[in-house]
Amino acid sequence: MDLTINGVPHQLEIEPETPLLWALRDDLAMTGTKYGCGLAQCGACTVLVNGQAVRSCVTPIERVAGASVLTIEAIEQDDLGKRVVSAWVKHQVPQCGYCQSGQVMAAVSLLKQVPHPTDDDINAAMLNLCRCGTYNAIRAAIHDLASSPENKGA
């Protein structure tokens, strides 16, 4: 199976139905993407496939062969991703941090599609669970990003 993760091609000798999450974590030792539920419920495993937020725990690797997969490890190589990370730092978003790889990926995906999201857009896109309750900091960071001068929009 040929995968392109963060611009780097990989050849993996594993079953095509293996979830991308476990290919990343166990075969490629990229543990920034987290396991929380394995059932597309929590969002801790969110990665971007062709710029779209995807739950890697329920995505077989065969579905992403030939696609461009971006994980949290390379998020700062993406311009918007870098800005999202800075906003997360500025707003001191994470607590335990476990959900935050997924939160950052979801925010990048949202802002790529909707540069100036309303609260309703944020509610609809940011479905990732956070047990530490960082939701208000997440919302504030996204609004801050949307209103920053670098945010040219689509």
């Binding site: 476990w22 166990d26 543990t31 335990c96 941090g97 476990y98 047990r131 530490c132 309750g133 960082t134």
Partner: protein, 751 residues
């Protein structure tokens, strides 16, 4: 596939000079930080530090805690684990304040097990009970001051001047006369070999001179946690490691009778081996995904618990349901133990003008921390054991491992990575931790084993926040003021719930929040009717207070209604003369723009109401107001105002974040959460059946921190307990009937 810190551990073990624990620690952390470490900190130093150990002062062995590196960064071994509550940053602020080193220059990790890191007054080492900053404050300040004194001494030697001519600036020793400076990092190799000064006479800063304590210093772990670089137990990996998954017995106490398809599972792709464990079957594989598939494919015949099992562990009956258990608690008779009494409640109730009786209840809840539990166990060639696991008490866990393995504690090295949330999940719960299984599997396979519990297994074995049914009686005088309050809680507390048998004394964690209320009600009786829960019980953020303040404060509102009193006015009345709480209540009312109970119509046309809740948990005081409406028959919380008085604080930004987090968890509990058991099993095995609060239901949170200057209290848990009653009281006002149980999603408010 080995990487990061673990490669260096192997190297360290071969390097004789680094055989000391400190050498080991340095290597394991230094690689993570990418710093080159000079080898200072010889084993002799620990012996010398021991000489100065005074039983009166804990946590004074400076070299065990601190390593100041040539690049002037400071590596601090924290007695408390970081799980999101910001304790690593707070420790850096406190130590840095007295050491005179910018908290930004700190790298903090969880200290290994060992007496030298036990700094709590209780003589235990736990991260819990919101104790870290309040118990760590004095010893960590002292530690920083001792280290600074040693650096000054070293500076005096190096500059050839008297120590009285020296002072410090952040990171530097300064000669006041000449302005000459030496970096801490250049003095540390000398300083750390000096005798530790007498902790009794070391001078601490005057708080008016504080530079970092009290400031919203940025957290040290934010960037790593925003970029996926932070590592949790589940991310750990060592050379030669295998992965494991388990299938647990559906009910506690059951054992394996037979496995119908063991052969087939062994032949599944990637499977290494299948293991029969107490109450579980484990599947080991080269990849966790294969192990999990194997574990799920197993067809196991489970045998009922044998007679006598209940002597050593909890046994879950096949007909247990949380609903009928609630009925059982409500109707049970039997012995009642008083936990708190004042006056003569029985007589006062008899003489009262009006008596109100009502039954309130709480629910079981799961921790549902985002990181599923895991453990990585490795037996080394020399018979020692290394283990990585999420834990809130390294020494207690190590002692338990020693008991299980027969190894001396010194032969067990416990590694405590960051916690992906905890909320009480990672204490020593008999059947709720994966490490005993990981150890057995590492022994059986001769390979390091990383065992991850799937979310489904976690929901099956999590230790639950207890459930209580409380019968209240309240007596009012002719003016409608409470003269008597009785609360009899049928429940089992989390502490007495740890073992298979009840302890001799009452468990304070069962009733806290019914006890310890500040209201001036002249006659009161708070009692427990102990009834064992067959479920595993555990500590859940704010423990007994998490439910008991809901129960008490909602009944108090019911009493207010009965007596024709406004709930805010009644609280003011019952707190008259209590300056601290009157101030706090006023603070939250002011924060909300003045008391406005409602129902009223908001700007958007929705009907809304507000409710109050107060709580005195973990040495702090909290008061909250919630504003709610009903949308499609369900509660919508729009605003939360909360005032918290922890006496004094270290980092206002972290306190505010903790209040937000506690509000979220409190709301999640009151609105949504309930672990329902049917046929002895939890109905929900993942978040789909156990919804928790999501971003779209997070209200705006307005925070007021009140620093009364009273004894320092906790921060992580105290903001939670006032939230559920504030919400439920608001809903009761809005819908015109009393709400006596959680979660509110169980009620239909469609008008």
């Amino acid at each position: 596939m080995s990487r990061g810190p673990f490669e260096n551990i192997a190297e360290t073990v071969q390097e004789p000079v680094n055989l000391s624990r400190r050498g080991f620690m340095r290597a394991s952390s230094g690689a993570a930080a990418g710093a080159f470490i000079l080898g200072f900190g010889l084993p002799t130093r620990r012996a010398r530090a021991d000489d100065t150990k005074s039983p009166k002062f804990r946590g004074t062995q400076v070299p065990a805690f601190l390593e100041i590196r040539p690049d002037n960064t400071v590596l601090l071994q924290s007695p408390f684990i970081e799980g999101g509550q910001g304790t690593f940053t707070a420790m850096a602020q406190i130590v840095g304040e007295e050491l005179d080193a910018d908290p930004e220059t700190f790298i903090v990790e969880n200290a290994p097990a060992g007496d030298e890191y036990t700094v709590m007054d209780s003589g235990m080492r736990i991260t819990g009970g919101s104790m870290s900053v309040r118990d760590g404050y004095a010893p960590m300040r002292r530690l920083g001051a001792l280290a600074r004194a040693m650096l000054l001494q070293a500076g005096a030697q190096q500059m050839g001047v008297s120590v009285t001519e020296l002072t410090t600036q952040p990171g530097y020793v300064v000669h006041t006369g000449s302005g000459r400076t030496v970096r801490y990092g250049d003095l540390a190799h000398v300083a750390m070999d000096l005798p530790i000064p007498d902790p009794a006479i070391v001078t601490l800063k005057d708080p008016s001179q504080f530079r970092w304590i009290g400031q919203p210093v940025q957290r040290l772990d934010i960037y790593e946690k925003s970029t996926g670089k932070a590592e949790y137990t589940i991310d750990m990996r060592v050379e030669g490691m295998l992965h494991a998954a388990v299938q647990h017995a559906p009910r506690l106490g059951m054992t394996i009778a037979s496995i119908r398809n063991e052969e087939q599972v062994l032949n599944m792709r990637g499977i290494h081996s299948v293991h029969h464990l107490p109450g579980a079957v484990a599947v080991v594989a080269e990849r966790w995904w294969h192990a999990k598939q194997g574990a799920e494919a197993l067809l196991v015949n489970w045998a009922e618990a044998t007679l006598g099992t209940a002597e050593t562990m909890r046994v879950m009956p096949s007909d247990f349901s949380s609903e009928s258990y609630k009925t059982h608690l409500a109707t049970a008779s039997g012995k009642i133990d008083d936990a708190e009494t004042k006056g003569d409640t029985e007589q006062a109730l008899q003489k009262a003008h009006t008596v109100l009786e009502a039954t309130y209840s709480s629910q079981y809840v799961n921790h549902a921390q985002l990181e599923p539990p895991s453990a990585l166990a490795r037996y080394n060639a020399d018979g020692t054991l290394d283990i990585w696991l999420p834990n809130q008490a390294p020494d207690m866990f190590r002692a338990d491992m020693a008991k299980r393995t027969g190894l001396d504690v010194e032969k067990i090295t416990i590694h405590s990575p960051l916690l992906g949330g905890f909320f009480g999940r990672h204490f020593l719960y008999d059947q709720a931790n994966p490490y005993p299984q990981a150890i057995l599997l590492a022994k059986a396979t001769g390979r390091p084993i990383k065992l991850i519990w799937s979310r489904e297994e976690e929901f099956l074995r999590d230790a639950l926040r207890p459930l209580a049914v409380v019968k209240f009686r309240g007596g009012l005088d002719t003016n409608g003021y409470p003269v008597a309050l009785e609360a009899i809680s049928a429940t089992e507390g989390p502490t007495e719930g740890l073992g298979p048998k009840r302890g001799k004394d009452l468990d304070p964690s069962a009733l806290e929040g019914l006890t310890g209320k500040a209201y001036d009600i002249p006659n009161r009786r708070i009692s427990q009717r102990y009834i064992q829960s067959p479920t595993a019980l555990g500590y859940w953020r704010s423990v007994g207070n998490s439910m008991n303040d809901f129960l008490y404060e909602t009944f108090l509102d019911e009493l207010a209604d009965k007596g024709g009193k406004d709930p805010y006015e009644l609280r003011r009345h019952l707190l008259r003369g209590n300056k601290r709480l009157t101030t706090l209540l006023q603070a939250v009312v002011d924060l909300s723009g003045g008391w406005k109970r409602g129902p009223f119509t908001a700007a958007d046309g929705s009907r809304r109401a507000r409710g109050i809740g107060m709580a005195s948990p973990f040495g702090s005081e909290a008061a909250a107001i919630a504003e709610v409406s009903i949308e499609q028959g369900q509660v919508r919380v729009h605003e939360i105002w909360e005032a918290l008085d922890p006496g004094s604080i270290v980092n206002p930004a972290i306190v505010e974040a903790q209040i937000n987090g506690a509000v979220a968890l409190g709301l999640s509990q009151v609105l949504l959460e309930e672990a329902v058991y049917e046929n002895g099993m939890p109905r929900a095995r993942n978040y789909d059946g156990y919804p928790i609060l999501t971003l779209d239901h997070m209200p705006r949170v307005h925070v007021k921190i009140v620093e009364s200057g009273e004894k320092m209290g906790g921060v992580g848990e105290p903001p939670l307990p006032a939230i559920p009653p504030a919400v439920a009281n608001a809903v009761s006002t809005l819908v015109g009937r009393r709400i006596r149980s959680m979660p509110l999603s169980r009620h239909n408010f469609q008008s």
